[in-house]
């Protein structure tokens, strides 16, 4: 009897395992198999010549990244840009939550729908299109300059797109927020609809104001979702993408806009140096890993539980 039960239990777990197997295979193929490509970082690989063991160069490309002060400075600036821009994004990642909360308070349903659509739409516009919008609005004879000139605010056109200095970080964050805010709030809107209505009713009976309900019911209920998303974002700290920065980059803002991904693209991929770009992306993965463990440790310390 016991043996039958045991084998039944075993069969159950095999069944469960089989259910998840296809996904494990997918993850292996798409997330682990590509790691094989790291091998290129140790070779002098130059297409169209086929890959050959004769071209083994060891850690040469890693060393070449830091072989002179200029290069160290460059990498330093690039890392700074990456960290600052990611930090701004992370630091403001509560914005979508707040946006969702406020939108939820809108009583007029049609108005709410319109707002939601209008803010979600930019997410589906590609960065190339966003830049052409930016160019038409902000070039020397664009809408913005014409408007300001007609109002008598300026006499000479302002070259918005030629902006340089650390302000670039903020501008880029604004573009990103414009594009992403609505989309990012969807998850929170879904979470809000999952909050038990009885809590609000009880609060109302107790005479809580709308602000109090937001502060003591909605936001605390959203916090677990917020923290999970935050964790995922931290692991992606270095992956702030490159399309946005690629289309917006020019000679004037290059110093502050060049993030790690764009740097890899500008210095290595564009010049046909596969090996060097692999070397830089490897470093990137390592830093990401460290950050993830750091975030995990911090969570353990602060909230008493870890994710890994």
């Amino acid at each position: 009897m016991k043996a039958v039960q045991k084998s039944k239990k075993k069969w159950e777990s095999v069944k469960l395992f089989l259910l998840i197997l296809p996904f494990i295979i997918l993850v292996l193929i798409f997330s682990y198999y590509p790691l094989y490509g790291w091998i290129y970082a140790f070779f002098d690989y130059k297409p169209p010549k086929p890959f050959s063991w004769d071209d083994f160069v060891g850690l040469k490309w890693f060393a070449s990244l830091v072989e002179s002060n200029v290069k160290i400075q460059q990498i330093g600036q690039v890392l700074l840009n990456t960290f600052v821009m990611s930090a701004i994004t992370l630091g403001t990642s509560w914005l979508p939550m707040l946006f969702a909360v406020f939108m939820n308070e809108l009583r007029s349903v049609p108005f709410r729908k319109v707002i939601q659509t209008v803010t979600t739409l930019p997410n589906f516009i590609s960065w190339v299109m966003v830049y052409s919008i930016a160019y038409s609005l902000f070039n020397s004879t664009g809408m913005m300059n014409t408007l300001l000139a007609n109002m008598g605010v300026i006499t000479e056109p302002v070259l918005f797109l030629n902006q340089s200095g650390p302000g670039v970080w903020l501008t880029q964050w604004l573009w990103l927020t414009w594009k992403n805010l609505g989309w990012a709030s969807i998850m929170y809107i879904a979470a809000i609809s999952g909050i038990d209505n009885e809590m609000y009713e009880a609060a109302k009976v107790d005479g809580a104001s709308r602000m109090k309900m937001i502060w003591y019911i909605t936001i605390p209920s959203l916090l677990p979702t917020f923290f999970v998303l935050l964790m995922i974002n931290i692991a992606n700290f270095l992956n702030n993408g490159m399309e946005q920065y690629y289309v917006f980059q020019n000679a004037f803002n290059k110093e502050y806009i060049q993030v790690l991904d764009l740097y890899v693209y500008n210095t290595a991929m564009g010049a046909g140096s596969y090996s060097v770009s692999v070397a830089i992306s490897m470093l990137k993965s390592l830093v990401s890993l460290v950050l993830l463990f750091f975030a995990n440790g911090a969570s353990k310390l602060i909230r008493g539980e870890s994710f890994l």
């Binding site: 996904f23 200029v70 290069k71 070039n139 030629n162 995922i232 991929m269 046909g272």
Partner: protein, 594 residues
């Protein structure tokens, strides 16, 4: 509990991403297998006879699509319109153009395609890349068959010369056919205009009293006066003396690099090669690049520079500025085509050369031996397709094919005179300046959309057409020259006492001709390529910053700062490498001059 929820969420996220990745993978797989199927279908009927001294006959029953990997193309996709119809009707072929320039990331497209082992059925590459591709077995040896084709055989001398000069080619193998060859000889130059020289609207210049310009400063001051007199175009849009664009930049600012021609030099990677056979680093402060930056910087200081220069692309500046007469200084000779027409000539509005005494113009002779790019046949095409391709290539080099490529449709764009020479029709004259609708019988659509999008020729337009005794280039026909004798040219000729720009510059000894040489040079090692790209990014960015610098002091400090950084990136290694790399070119020029 919360941990579990997190794990669930994380798993869902991971699966969503992996399934998305899966989708995109499948998609690309789908298209490539479709292409394979198409090429397999194309190759199913074999009808070949490669032996014997004459070109083999091939059947045109089956439609074939040639995939052309084309570094010169500005258009990606199927060749459409009137030229597409000509190819379809003549050979039953379609062209699928792969354009790295359009793809957004030329280098990675090249890398992925070469890594996959199939670059294209036909490839058009720079000389150096062609050597690499031959070395990697991506290109087919066509020596067995090429000279069976009558028109290709006419260029045997040039084709042999080029293939033998490649270090990777052994024996009598033929892999590459140079681009833009001609039949006029290695030091001929047939055009009426120099490749680069300052040109401005004639009526405006004449309105200023045709001031004598001794230096580039005079040129700038003249442009200031011109802008003062004509601050906008006729439509009222703001005009500029100089407008530039950022998207052609490579390892330097392309606009500044072009202006080095005015100082008797040409930018070759990290060095400047002079007409006097000198080689100096790009960053030589006596060199043309520094002078060009100074020129552009002064232009900006004088307020005649388009402030959007650093953020706009070529299409914007060409369509919304050059074609609208909002830019007063043109510097490429082909730029004239965006404005100059017989009508504008008659109303004295055409852009014309204005002499600047201190300048000497670097000018390369017509590309008798080819221009640095080559055609090749992909090594993975099958025998049937190879014959179809060779037939097409031969047609490209034939007078009939060249008429289509360099002129266009007989009866619509040009007509044949009694003596056999050609004359452009009204449509022909306007083909670059306005949108010409092509009649349905010729394939419909607009003329420029249907024009040959390969944008590269085996035989250049400078070559002489044996049927007419004139060049293929319509602007050099006697009929066109006569037609272009407008108020503008007549006044210009009278004022400067010369038949055309080139004749004038030859008279003043300002046109410095260098012989045509076409030899493949070494490609970069990974180390050099890395230095090149890092230095290039720096030079490019600094160049733009210098042009828009607030004052002389900032201009100088930007330059000094760049020089310090360049040293840290290995600039001297790079210039030494390039000096050595271009020495064979100099040697060949000296030999050709003797």
């Amino acid at each position: 509990m919360k941990t579990k929820r997190f794990l669930c969420l994380a798993l869902v996220a991971a699966l969503a991403t992996s399934s998305l990745v899966g989708c995109s993978q499948e998609e690309t797989g789908g298209t490539s297998s479709a292409a394979d199927a198409a090429s397999a279908a194309a190759g199913s009927k074999a009808d070949s006879d490669a032996d014997g001294g004459s070109a083999p006959e091939v059947s045109h029953d089956e439609e074939v699509t040639f995939e052309i990997y084309d570094v010169a193309a500005n258009y990606q996709g199927e060749q459409i319109g009137w030229y597409g119809k000509v190819l379809k009707d003549t050979f039953n072929i379609k062209l699928n153009i792969i354009a790295p320039q359009v793809s957004g990331d030329a280098n990675s497209l090249y890398q992925t395609r070469t890594a996959s082992g199939n670059l294209g059925d036909i490839v058009i590459l720079d000389n150096a890349d062609m050597q690499d591709c031959i070395d990697s077995g991506l290109i087919m040896d066509i020596s067995d068959i090429i000279y069976n084709y009558e028109h290709l055989a006419e260029y045997k001398e040039q084709i042999d010369q080029f293939n033998q000069s490649m270090s990777v080619v052994e024996g009598g193998a033929i892999y590459a056919i140079p681009c833009n060859m001609n039949n006029n000889g290695p030091s001929a130059y047939v055009a009426e205009t120099a490749f680069s020289a300052p040109r401005v609207p004639w009526d405006y210049f004449e309105g200023l009293g045709c001031p004598e310009l001794a230096t580039t400063d005079d040129l700038l001051n003249m442009l200031v006066d011109m802008l003062e007199a004509h601050p906008t175009n006729e439509a009222g849009d703001k005009a500029y003396g100089i407008s530039m664009w950022k998207d052609w930049d490579t390892n330097y600012s392309e606009n500044a690099a072009l202006l080095t021609y005015w100082f008797g030099q040409q930018v070759k990677d990290s060095v400047l090669v002079g007409y006097d056979n000198s080689i100096v680093p790009l960053t030589d402060t006596e060199g043309g690049y520094y002078k060009a930056l100074q020129f552009l910087f002064k232009a900006n200081q004088l307020g005649i520079m388009d402030p959007d220069s650093a953020t706009q692309d070529w299409t914007t500046v060409c369509d919304s500025k050059m074609k609208q007469k909002r830019v007063y200084l043109f510097w490429y000779n082909w730029q004239n085509g965006f404005w100059n027409t017989p009508e504008h000539g008659e109303s004295r509005e055409n852009y014309m050369y204005v002499p600047v005494d201190e300048l000497v113009y670097y000018q390369q002779a017509d590309s008798y031996y080819g221009d640095g790019r080559v055609w090749g046949v992909g090594s993975s095409v099958d025998e049937t397709k190879k014959l179809r391709i060779m037939e097409y290539l031969d047609w490209l080099a034939s007078p009939e094919g060249l008429d289509y490529q360099h002129v266009s449709l007989e009866g619509f764009i040009y007509t044949v005179n009694d003596d056999g020479t050609y004359t452009l029709t009204k449509e022909g004259q306007d083909r670059f300046t306005t949108t010409i609708e092509v009649p349905e019988e010729y394939g419909g659509g607009s003329w420029s959309d249907g024009n040959n999008q390969v944008n590269q020729w085996i035989v250049g337009s400078a070559a002489t057409n044996p049927n007419t005794g004139e060049s293929y280039d319509p602007s050099l026909w006697a009929s066109s020259i006569e037609m272009n004798l407008t108020a503008t040219t007549n006044e210009w000729m009278e004022k400067y006492n010369a038949e055309n720009e080139v004749k004038y510059l030859e008279g003043t000894d300002q046109l410095k001709m260098v012989a045509n040489i076409n030899i493949p040079l070494a490609t970069d090692s990974t180390d050099i390529a890395l230095i090149r790209s890092q230095c290039g990014t720096l030079i490019k960015d600094t160049s733009w910053q210098m042009v828009f610098a607030a004052d002389e002091a900032e201009f100088n400090s930007l330059w000094d700062n760049m020089m310090t950084q360049l040293e840290g990136l290995g600039w001297s290694t790079l210039t030494e490498y390039d000096t050595e790399k271009y020495q064979p070119l100099i040697d060949a020029r000296i030999a050709a001059a003797e």
